[in-house]
Amino acid sequence: MTELNARENQKANPFLSEVAQASGEKISACFQCQKCSAGCPIAYAMDVLPNQMLRHIQYGHREKVLTSNTIWICASCYTCSVRCPNNIDIAKIMDTLRALAVHSEFKPGEKDIPIFHSAFLDTIKSRGRIHELSLILQFKSKTKDFFKDAALGWKMYRKGKIKLLPSKFCGGKKEVKEIFNAFEKGARQ
C-alpha cells in the first residue's frame, strides 16, 4: 500500500479509504487542476464533474457520489486518466464507484444504464456470447420502451446487419456459467 493510501486510512475517512483501496488509486493526490473535466466529452451531461467527484470522495460524501449520474454516463474513454498530471486513473475509479453503487442501498443516478448492464450480463451468462437481437429484446422488455429505434432496426435488418437467430454454439457455455456462479457466490458473501 502506498504511503498516501496509508495516510488516507489514518484520517478515519472510511469512504475515501474504501474507494482508494478498491481502486488502488491515490485519490488524495488530486489538486483540482480540472484537466479531467476539461477533456471529458460527456462532462456537459454530468451532475458531478470528474474533478468534483474526486473532491467529494476526499470529503467522504458517499451518498452524493454513489447517487450521481456521472458514474453511469462516464463512457470509460480514459481521456481523464491519461491527462491527469498526478497519474490518477479516474476512469478506473469510476469502475470502482459503479460496483460500490450496485451493492449500495441507494437508487442509481441513471435509470436505464444499470438495467442495460444487467441484461448484457444475463445474455452472456445464458448464451456464452452476445446475440445482439436477444440483448435488445431483453433490454426493451425491462424498460418497456419498444418503439425507440424500431425504424432504425428495420433499416439495419434490411442491410443484413441483424442476425435473427443466435449462432449454434455450445462449447464454452458451461465454463462461462461457472465463472458467473463463482462471482455470484462471492458477491453474496
Partner: protein, 283 residues
C-alpha cells in the same frame, strides 16, 4: 505465410459482419492464415467491468487461456474486446494470484489495426496494391480504447496517433489532419442515453466535414455502427447535412488490393459509400 489466432468477438458475428468479412478477405490476399479460436466466448465488454472487476477479468482470461494453448499471436478486431484482454493481461502479470483460470499472460494480443500497420505488412500491401486510392480524403478516426490507456496499449503517440494515417497513405489515400482523432463517440451509451451519443456524433461528423474528409475510417465496430446508423436521424434534429460514409480500414485495404467482394461489404452500410467512391473513380 503468417499464422495468427483470431478472436472475432460478438459484434463481428452481427452488426459488424462486413468488418469480419473484410478482415478475412484482406488476410487471404496478404497470405495471413487466421485460426478462429474454437469455443470463444464473450469478453464481457463494458458491462462486466462496469459491474465487477473480477468477473470482467475472468471472462476475458477464459479466452486468453484458449489462445495460449498454441504458439500464435492473437488477432483482435474489436476495440472493446482488445481493451478487456489487455486489462486481463496486465492483471495476470501484476497480480497472478487474482486470476483463477488457466492463463499466464504469455499470448501476444494484437489489435487488428496495429497488426495491419506493422512495417512488414505495409511492405506487402505496397507490393500487392492493385489500385491507388488517390484523391480519396479520409479522416482517420482511432477512437478511445485503440490508443488509451497507453500503459495498456503501448501506443506512444496517443494524443495524435499516426499509424492508420500511414496505412491510408500506403493505399494511396489522402489522410486529412483533424483534431478529433481520439475523441470518444460514446458507443456504450447508444441504447441507454442516445441523446449523449447523438451530440458526440454531431461533433465528430461536423469536424470531419470541416476538415473536408470524404469519409471517416475506423477499426472499431462500435464507432462504425454508432456513426454510420444515425446520420439520418441527426440530420432531422440539427438541420445539417452529413452523408459521411464510415468505413472500416480493412474495407479500404480490400478496395486497394482489388478484392472481389468489396461491393458486398460496402452494401451493408447505412450511409451509402458508393456515391463518393464512384465519383472518385474507385468503384
Amino acid at each position: 505465410m503468417k499464422e495468427v489466432s483470431y478472436y472475432p468477438g460478438c459484434s463481428l458475428h452481427g452488426t459488424a459482419r462486413e468488418y469480419d468479412d473484410s478482415i478475412r478477405g484482406v488476410s487471404k490476399l496478404l497470405d495471413i492464415q487466421l485460426y478462429e479460436l474454437e469455443d470463444w466466448t464473450c469478453c464481457g465488454a463494458s458491462s462486466a467491468h462496469c459491474t465487477d472487476e473480477k468477473l470482467a477479468i475472468d471472462l476475458a482470461a477464459r479466452n486468453l487461456g484458449l489462445a495460449e494453448k498454441n504458439d500464435r499471436d492473437l488477432l483482435v478486431p474489436c476495440v472493446a474486446c482488445y481493451s478487456r484482454f489487455k486489462a486481463a493481461e496486465k492483471e495476470v502479470k501484476e497480480h497472478p494470484e487474482k486470476v483463477h483460470l488457466s492463463y499466464h499472460g504469455n499470448v501476444p494480443i494484437r489489435y487488428a489495426l496495429d497488426f495491419f500497420c506493422d512495417d512488414g505488412i505495409l511492405e506487402e500491401v505496397k507490393k500487392k496494391r492493385a489500385k491507388s486510392l488517390s484523391g480519396l480524403k479520409v479522416a482517420c478516426y482511432y477512437g478511445c480504447l485503440t490508443v488509451r490507456p497507453p500503459k495498456m496499449t503501448g501506443v506512444r503517440e496517443y494524443e495524435n496517433p499516426q499509424h492508420m494515417d500511414r496505412l491510408m497513405k500506403t493505399l494511396g489515400a489522402d489522410p486529412v489532419p483533424w483534431c478529433y482523432k481520439t475523441d470518444c463517440c460514446g458507443a456504450s451509451l447508444v441504447m441507454t442515453r442516445t441523446d449523449i451519443v447523438k451530440k458526440l456524433n454531431d461533433r465528430l461528423l461536423s469536424m470531419a466535414m470541416e476538415a473536408e474528409a470524404d469519409c471517416l475510417v475506423t477499426g472499431c465496430p462500435m464507432c462504425q455502427a454508432n456513426l454510420d446508423t444515425r446520420q439520418g436521424e441527426l440530420e432531422k434534429e440539427t438541420g445539417k447535412r452529413y452523408n459521411l460514409p464510415i468505413l472500416y480500414f480493412t474495407e479500404l485495404m480490400g478496395l486497394a488490393l482489388g478484392h472481389k467482394d468489396v461491393r458486398k461489404w460496402l452494401h451493408r452500410h447505412i450511409t451509402d459509400p458508393m456515391k463518393i467512391l464512384s465519383a472518385k473513380g474507385l468503384m
